[in-house]
Amino acid sequence: MQEKSTQVKLDEVQCGDGGAAITVLRFAGDITSASQTAVLGTYQALPVDAQRILLDFSKVEYLNSSGIALVIQLMIAASKHGQTIKTFGLTPHFQKVFTMVGITKYTSLHADEQTACAAFTA
């Protein structure tokens, strides 16, 4: 049987002002307890000089509390390295869930890539 698993794509984008490149982790599929490698493994493989990180949830179909816990673990690691994380592409429902859990204290949620990107230089 073929279960929907997590897909991750790594991108580097430049945001308007020509500042430092931004690293984008584009998630797709499900983010659950089975997504350890996809979430934390991908993060750990990033070059240490990646200071601005964007999490793209726009292709995520299913996200549960174990998946959110992995996102929190990623944020803990990033905060230790002084990296800034911004998030976009969450549905209104999961924006609400992230807010309920309090994650918004440590990352900002944006509607789309452009606004998230612009928020780094604002």
């Binding site: 659950t32 299913y62 549960n64 509390s65 174990s66 816990a69 992995l70 549905t91 429902h93 309090g102």
Partner: protein
Amino acid sequence: MTENIPGTIELHIPSRLGYEKIAMNTAASTARMMGFSDERVEDLKTAVAEACINAMEHGNKFDESLSVGIILSMSDDSLEVKVVDTGAGTQGHGTAPDIDRKMHEEEKARGMGMFLIQALVDEAEWVSSPPTGSYARMVIRLHPASEPLERK
């Protein structure tokens, strides 16, 4: 159309991660058929998925030969979902996660399921070890505003 909604819908899924999505979608179809808004349907989906995962993990210890029961009871203006397992149950209530403690690794990153259930539905309770099996019980209402005592 009669006002008297008959019977209930009952679903049984194996205690295997991933299958909670079936329960989540069955609950969603039922809620949609009853006329709940997309927003409430999304709330219920997350609550049902979390309750199923807890039933599989803490209740049935991931024993795939044990199933998780999902019992959907419709009334004119509310939908009750009971998620039943074969374990000893819990009487806990969802306590809000402390994101600062999590970020400082003083609290484990996970442990948000019961809190989310409680926060997303109109009524939630956990019943431990009645003869029919421990369960989490969740209710969403079509017109919660008319029941001010029940509002969160």
